[in-house]
């Protein structure tokens, strides 16, 4: 009951925000005049303001720039969130059991032998199967399209790991000690790429996009027609991995 109320309150809030945003845009356009319209850049919203469905965060990954021997994005993720080489925990887990938020994958065209290297992480679906199957509401999609696990509610059942077509989620099998302040992780819960939600909320881009030496990972707002990512998606070909599942992914790839 209280959940329903909270949800309707949130909805009202989002209506209010949209209305205020529109009025602000009109005011901005009015003061600038001459056909100039203010467009919001991917700046930080105030800390007190909730994530809004006016944004949808996503990535565009150009695999033609992605070298097979480079894993700077994976390293940056490990450092940011304290998994893999970013931590000395998980000593007893087998490699396939250990946390893996992002991995480098090589795909090979059988007919031509051409190999493509790409980073693979949570694809931040608009219709995420992991959210559909979660029995506790822990696996969730934020209003701005970021899919993540609310570990306060996660019971570690791992249904979401089964449901994910991208093998994006990991389960933590042992007690951890070296977590990052901004990326709490713990035994008995499932986790995955959260698009560096901590950085995005500060107005920064995800660690992988920042670390890529070839600038192959472009982060931005898919809802904002003026953003670099939306412009490139509109003008250049890109593809979803397993697009046949029609999950409407937030992460798109080029040249595969």
């Amino acid at each position: 009951m209280s959940d329903e109320k909270a949800m309707s309150d949130n909805q009202i809030d989002s209506y209010k925000r949209r209305f205020l945003g529109q009025s602000a845009a009109i005011a901005g356009a009015a003061t600038l005049g001459g056909g100039l319209v203010l467009t919001s850049v991917a700046g930080a919203r105030p800390a007190e303001q909730a994530a809004s469905s006016a944004n949808r965060w996503g990535l565009l990954i150009d695999t033609s720039k992605c070298a097979s021997d480079c894993d700077e994005c994976v390293k940056a993720c490990e450092t940011e969130h304290g998994w893999g080489r970013g931590s000395t925990d998980e000593q007893h887990s087998r490699p396939e059991q250990k946390a893996q938020w992002v991995r480098k994958v090589t795909v090979r065209d059988r007919a031509t032998g051409h190999e493509t290297s790409l980073p693979m992480m949570c694809q931040h679906c608009a219709h995420p199967p992991c959210v559909d199957v979660c029995p506790t509401g822990a696996s969730m999609k934020r209003d701005d399209g970021i899919v993540l696990v609310d570990k306060h509610r996660c019971i570690g059942c791992r249904y979401c790991m089964m449901a994910c077509p991208y093998k994006a989620r990991s389960f933590i099998h042992e007690a951890l000690h070296e977590q990052k302040t901004e990326s709490p992780r713990g035994k008995g819960t499932v986790e995955s790429c959260n698009l560096c939600v901590n950085r995005v909320d500060r107005g920064e881009q995800p660690a992988c996009a920042e670390a890529c030496p070839e600038k192959a990972i472009l982060f931005g707002d898919l809802e904002d027609a003026g953003s670099d990512i939306a412009k490139r998606l509109a003008s250049e070909p890109s593809t979803e991995i397993r697009g046949d599942l029609r999950l409407d992914l937030g992460v798109r790839y080029q040249h595969i």
Binding site: A47, A50, A51
Partner: protein, 128 residues
């Protein structure tokens, strides 16, 4: 009636004499001073009774809605409530001297925050 009165008398005396020192010096948790020594984000009495409500509300707002106001965040607790160990570093929640442990041990209330969250202030920006 009289019979009961006589048999209870020694017990009553024993209770009174044993209870007196306990009343005078009942053990109390030794709450560490905040390092900044200022007023907490809310009134001290309010915080002692309601900190769990504030933290729980904030955690849902932060994780599920992306509201990251600092005031009632766990991270903000540890900007002031830090206990330095013998080596000069902040002690973690595995140490009974930790700010949270001091009362939680006394009240025998076990919290599982520290299975995931760090219990010390952390300098950011370390590289691989």
């Amino acid at each position: 009636m009289k019979r009961y009165g006589y048999s209870l008398l020694p017990l009553l005396v024993l209770l009174l004499t044993a209870g007196a020192p306990a009343l005078a010096g009942a053990p109390k948790p030794d709450i560490p001073e905040a390092i900044k020594g200022e007023q907490c984000v809310e009134d001290t009495g309010f915080m002692r009774r309601n900190h769990m409500e504030l933290l729980e509300h904030q955690r849902d707002d932060t994780v599920r809605r992306g509201i990251r106001s600092k005031k009632h965040s766990l991270k903000n607790c540890f900007t002031c409530h830090v206990v330095k160990g013998d080596d000069g570093k902040a002690v973690t929640a595995s140490d009974p001297r930790h700010f949270c442990r001091e009362c939680h041990d006394y009240a025998a209330v076990n919290v599982d925050c520290w299975q995931c969250h760090v219990s010390t202030p952390e300098p950011r920006g370390d590289k691989l």
